[in-house]
Amino acid sequence: MLIKRRKFIQVGSLATASLMMPRFLQAFEKQPMVPPGNRVLVVLQLSGGNDGLNTIVPIRNDIYYRARPKLAITKKDALSLSDEVGLHPTLTAFKSLYDDGCLGILNSVGYPNPDRSHFRSMDIWQSASKSNEFINSGWIGRYLDAQCAGCDKPTQAIEIDDVLSMALKGNHSTALAAKDLRRLYNTANDPFFKQLSTNHSDQQGDHAIDYLYKTMAQTISSADYIYNQSRLHPSSAAYPLTNLGKSFQTMASLIFSDINTKVYYVSLGSFDTHVAQDGQQKRLFIEMNNAVDAFVKDLKFNNRFQDVLIMSFSEFGRRVAQNASGGTDHGTANNMFFIGGSLKQKGMLNELPGLGNLENGDIPHEVDFKDVYATVLNKWLKADDEHILDRKSSLLHFI
């Protein structure tokens, strides 16, 4: 038995991999690499509902200071961007990016009839649906559907995680989730799975089993592709040894390899700060700040910063007033960060929320997040936003 297996591993080596690959995947293997200049989107999901008001601090707003006698960040502590606006004190790298014209801040982003359940609101953000519709595919998944109908390239979008988010599931294509590229490679290279895959003849059929085999073949092929790409030009820069730091380093290695990936997705959390918000938000922000800092430096050093757009979001913001436990409860509209070397508009992209006319104690939304997605899809990824989002959007001008 052992000999057989070993033999199989040899046969399964890279040189002959294409012989064993189902036909429909071979075409994909031969495609030329995407040239430098390949624009990449990195979505940074702040899970749990980040408190936007203590992220972009309205340092001259009395309503803010009255609503948060204990939690407000003082003007002295905030990293000042202007007379009106300060950043959370930990976000030093964001401050430098702002000064360099590589940071955009969009305020009061949300959607009508907001939902305060994490899961539901995240569902709405990930599927880009209205709050009263239920869509089972994600906006990046539908981008994949539109971009590569029939081309079977699940590596065009990658989530750096063990489990795939709904955002990356399309109606026809699903992206790949991989946190540890080597582990995925090892799993996919299990000789039994490989042999099963190559022995199944009809992967084009309509039967659900053909769909499973197709997914399996794609996973095996993509795992090889991604892992080998990531070793071509591994990032040698110093990254923090945090989860997010490692994820950003993985993304950098892939970006430098000129893999065909257009969208990376990564999450940080939990920002659900009902209790003792200060410490928790600070800890997460330090992780975010340092990881983004290392990533941007790495991209700049490799002359790729102009090709990358980082976009952050959270499923909702938090209430304007603090609660009784040194925290804040679920709110609605929130701010988003955009980081990149080729932003058309920089700094504050719109006004800070005034806090004068709150809706039930919450910031009313002024920008629909679906317009933001449309802008990114249309102007950055050059995709048909109307088709993907099934709506006509008002595009913004920061790209």
Partner: protein, 483 residues
């Protein structure tokens, strides 16, 4: 010719959670008719109520004074926290208790039907008492009358709270419940107008639940003006609205199509759906009768239906436990596996329930499914981590008290499988026929897999090892994901 055994297994997978190895002898001998009859007979009685909520929780909840409806007014911060933590633990207990029922209960059909309704009447609610109550209603009426099921479900605290009907008041309507009753519970999208939603919401004003979970009608919040709904007008209340919806044939069609897609084939055969819906409607929504018609029809056993469905994570995990005598030392791994595979009981993704079908499958979930049997067989380690669920955690740190960690920091599966008991079921099978026998028991599309390639991966040292390794490999295939 489709083998009799395959047909029986088809019935057992669809009307339950798959065959047991110990029934192996009967599988080829009995007729579908006799299997169907015994499935219905076994599920005839109302099952015992699943009650896992600890005394502590009940006392906390029952001590609450009405009418202080909002929890925060009557429970201290400490008590609320205590309740949340206890509720979360109890929800896991309820999950595992119910799952055990799916594995061991003779009421296979009732539990399967209940799982269907659990997704149909989806509710995310961390209150254990409410969830327990909703599950009780569903299991009681799973095979009864759909109208009665709908009426009782619509009056549970779990559903009314989840769909915000406690906030639905005269002059300040909250349409969420009214909309979902139509869109998801009865007639489906496209068969009602926005006016219907508004008018129904008015009729449901005042419907709510007490903190203890009892249904209450707050008369002072009820809008008793005239309403127009589906061409009728009158001073309708919530019960009237539900009745008018049940009077619509479209409700029977919508429910029948969903049942067909779940129990027969993802691709609905509209001709059959029409005939079945007509019968269902004329029977006054008798669920049991509808299911009997399905499971005793010749078309149910046609090749296009057999092995055509991707098992849901629950079907997969329960099915493995039904076929293998398996004991989990650390039952929490079953919760973890549900989360990783995308179907955690009592936590549906949204009010529309689990979409099912191909949506269960992506590269990560498929590779994990293929690896699970091997990990179970060798005390493997689950190194993948599920996503955080902030609704569950409520700002607390993720539960760190997992019991068994492996070298990779993951959870150990710690499953003990009684292989000698399992292989006794096949003692009469000659060695050269073992692979084919096991394959026919485990796979619903046996022809798809070339079993010869298994030979290279089976342990030939003795019979038990051969049965063990061949079984594990057969379960580690895409074919095993189908039922």
């Amino acid at each position: 010719m489709i083998p009799n055994q395959l047909k029986n297994q088809h019935l057992l997978w669809r009307a339950g959670f798959g065959p047991r190895a110990k029934d192996f002898d009967k599988l080829s001998a009995n007729s579908q008719h006799s299997y169907a009859t015994s499935l219905f007979n076994a599920s005839a009685e109302i099952p015992p109520y699943l009650d896992v909520a600890a005394k502590e929780i009940k006392e906390l909840m029952m001590g609450v004074r009405e009418p202080g409806r909002k929890l925060k007014k009557v429970l201290s911060v400490q008590e609320k926290k205590q309740l949340r933590i206890a509720s979360k633990v109890a929800l896991h207990d309820l999950n595992l208790t119910w799952m055990k029922g799916m594995v061991n209960s003779e009421q296979q059909l009732r539990e399967k039907m209940s799982l269907f309704w659990h997704g149909h009447f989806a509710s995310r609610n961390i209150n254990i008492l409410y969830q327990q109550q909703l599950l009780g209603v569903i299991r009681n009426h799973a095979l009864g009358n759909f109208g009665q099921l709908l009426q009782e479900v619509s009056k549970t605290a779990a559903i009314l709270n989840f769909l915000n009907n406690n906030q639905n008041r005269k002059g300040h309507p909250n349409e969420n419940f009214a909309r979902e009753v139509m869109e998801l519970f009865t007639i489906g999208r496209g068969h009602y107008t926005e006016t219907d939603v508004k008018e129904a919401a008015r009729a449901f004003t005042g419907w709510g639940a007490s903190i203890k979970g009892e249904f209450i009608i707050r008369e002072n919040q009820h809008d008793d003006g005239n309403k127009s709904f589906f061409g009728k007008s009158g001073n309708f209340n919530g019960d009237d609205i539900l009745q008018i919806l049940l009077d619509q044939k479209q409700t029977a069609t919508y429910i029948t199509r969903k049942i067909y897609k779940y129990f027969v084939n993802e691709e609905a055969d509209e001709e059959l759906v029409k005939i079945l819906a007509e019968k269902f409607y004329n029977s006054g929504y008798n669920i049991s009768e509808l299911m009997k018609t399905i499971f005793t029809s010749d078309w149910f056993y046609e090749p296009r239906n057999i092995g055509s469905k991707i098992k849901s994570p629950i079907e997969l995990l329960v099915g493995i436990q039904r076929v293998l005598p398996i004991h989990f030392e650390n039952e929490e791994v079953l919760i973890l596996l549900q989360r990783l595979l995308g179907q955690l009981l009592f936590y549906p993704p949204n009010v529309a329930g689990w979409p099912g079908g191909r949506s269960w499958i992506d590269s990560s979930s498929l590779m994990l499914r293929l690896k699970i049997p091997g990990m179970l067989g060798a005390n493997g380690e689950l190194t993948t981590k599920p996503k955080d669920d902030d609704d569950q955690m409520m700002g607390m740190e993720e539960n760190k008290k997992m019991k068994a960690f492996g070298k990779g920091g993951g959870q150990l599966l710690k499953a003990a499988i009684n292989w000698s008991k399992y292989q006794d079921n096949f003692s009469k099978i000659p060695r050269e026929k073992l692979t084919a026998t096991l394959s026919s028991l485990l796979l619903q599309i046996p022809k798809s897999l070339n079993t010869e390639l298994l030979n290279g991966y089976s342990d030939l040292s003795d019979r038990e090892n051969f049965v063990r390794t061949t079984t594990i490999r057969l379960m580690s295939t895409p074919e095993y994901q189908m039922c």
